[in-house]
């Protein structure tokens, strides 16, 4: 499988402020990578470095395995980009935007079909479009030339749930056709739904980069136990156990990974109640920020 995008120890400083620090990511063809993080974490700065809008202070970015040997301009022929702010020419209609992009890319595209699918009026000036329609236009401009790599900065921001579903379907189709997606998002549910891998960025540092499968395997269980008689809760402490609450007869613990040994310990005592639930991915995500 070929490497479509490679970030190698990329750092970006603005004066003394380190916006992105030592980030390394590799994307293989056909995968959808979710780039998660709160506002100001460095997601957009990273995306701008990928597209050569800004230059890394150190480290390197390479697209399509060529180390940008043919230059970013050549690479951009196979890249579609959706900006978080999606600003286009205020007096242009969607159709004029499509025409210009077609002329620059030197190809006829299926932009009008995509516009029909998204129910976008192509003859309305950009400044008169609603924020949802602006987002639709941005997405069509990113996808109309059938790129190999899609770089999406919060693609579903401001869209209604039906449209979000539409986009998830499109991205899945895009992936099935061999396309690769690098998308930033705040929305964990959507990342969980469509991404194969997720990178979590915090204060410019990539604090985790996992496949969704391994993230799920790392799943934490929340176990609530009610004892018949008081017990010494310290007995249940272990490296994969985090005691959340220990009061009177109740014990609430988060157990990472295998919980059988924990259960063995607690069932040595008489229990009046036992409740085991999954900690949501969202809660797990939040743990990275603590």
């Amino acid at each position: 499988m070929s490497t479509v995008l490679s970030l190698h120890k990329v750092t970006k400083k603005f004066g003394k402020k380190v916006a992105v620090s030592n980030v390394s990511v590799q994307l293989q063809a056909g995968e959808i990578y979710g780039f998660l993080g709160p506002n100001g974490a460095g997601k957009t700065t990273t995306i701008r470095m990928i597209l050569d809008f800004i230059r890394p202070t150190s480290g390197s970015v390479s697209l399509f395995d060529n180390g940008n040997a043919n230059g970013i301009v050549t690479s951009l022929k196979d890249v579609g980009y959706l900006s978080a702010d999606n600003t286009f020419y205020a007096n242009w209609t969607a159709k004029r935007h499509f025409n210009y992009v077609e002329r620059v890319r030197g190809m006829k595209t299926d932009a009008l079909d995509l516009a029909r699918r998204f129910e976008l009026d192509v003859n309305t000036r950009y400044r008169h479009l609603s924020s949802g329609n602006k987002q639709k236009l941005s997405l069509i401009l990113a996808m109309m030339h059938k790129p190999k790599l899609l770089i999406l900065d919060e693609p579903t921001r401001g869209l209604d749930p039906l449209l979000q579903e539409n986009i998830y379907d499109m991205l899945q189709d895009f992936k099935k056709a061999g396309g690769t997606v690098f998308m930033s998002s705040h929305n964990l549910a959507e990342v969980q739904k469509i991404c194969d891998r997720v990178g979590i960025i915090r204060e410019g540092k990539l604090v985790a980069s996992e496949t969704m499968q391994s993230l799920r395997k790392m799943h934490v269980h929340e176990i609530r136990v009610l004892f018949e008689k008081p017990v010494d809760f310290k007995k249940f402490e272990a490296s994969n156990v985090e005691i959340i609450k220990a009061e009177d007869l109740e014990l609430l613990a988060h157990v990472r990974g295998d919980f059988n040994s924990f259960l063995k310990e607690v069932t040595k005592y008489t229990l009046t109640d036992l409740d085991v639930t999954h900690v949501s991915l969202e809660d797990m995500f939040m743990r990275f920020y603590k």
């Binding site: 597209l51 050569d52 809008f53 800004i54 230059r55 301009v73 900006s83 030197g106």
Partner: protein, 272 residues
Amino acid sequence: MSRVFWSTVWKELYQRRWSVISYSIGALLFLVLYVAIYPSFQSESANFDELLRSYPKALLEAFNIDQLQLTTIEGYVSAEHFSFVWPLLAIFFGLATAGAAIAGEVDKGTMSFMLSLPVGRIRLFIAKYFSALVSILFFTVVSITSFIPLVKIMNLSVNGSNVIKTSILSALFMWAIYCMGLLVSSIASEKSTVYFTIGGVLFAMYVVKILSGLINSLDKLKYTSIFYYYSPDKALTNGQLSVNALVVLSAIGVLCTISGLWLFKRRDVNAS
């Protein structure tokens, strides 16, 4: 040149079309006005000539009317049109075009759209530059070269060669202003930075030109002012086109262009 280049040149021209047309028509209307007024002014022109001769030479130089020949239409138009109105319109138009080219696109957020396309920074810069040259040429032809047919329509006569020389000098002046603006635009993220920076520099140069004429000890400072090299009255009334002026204005244009391109290629584009 490639399809990408011409598509982008066309896009730039299309976007700036109303601005180019309105500036050009505005300047043309001023010219029409002066040419139309001239016949009624002609009978009194000798008196005005005399009156102007009583003014300090430096003051007249400041307004590009040191070639006192108000008895001819060339002299009259150069005193009225080229002393103040045309340079001011040329400066506004040049800086507006330069400001919109790069800083304006960064400011609006459309630069990220342009840079995400396989155009490339150098080609984008040159396409914008080329379209600006076309606009400058159009503005010059409409607002200056049209003087020749305009005068013919009014049954007057003018030295066509002098008008062409004035057009060349004025286009060079406007190009130099545009290039100065583009240099700042290449590194700025707001149009207003271009207007205030180069507007301030030009104002300072204008003051320097006036002061150097009024104060003998500051005489040599005049060489640092772009307005010293722009003498449309000499070109229009006497056909004088100073080689120094052509060289200096061209040098400003070339140096600012090369520096602007180099800076734009290296800069970070942070807005959206």
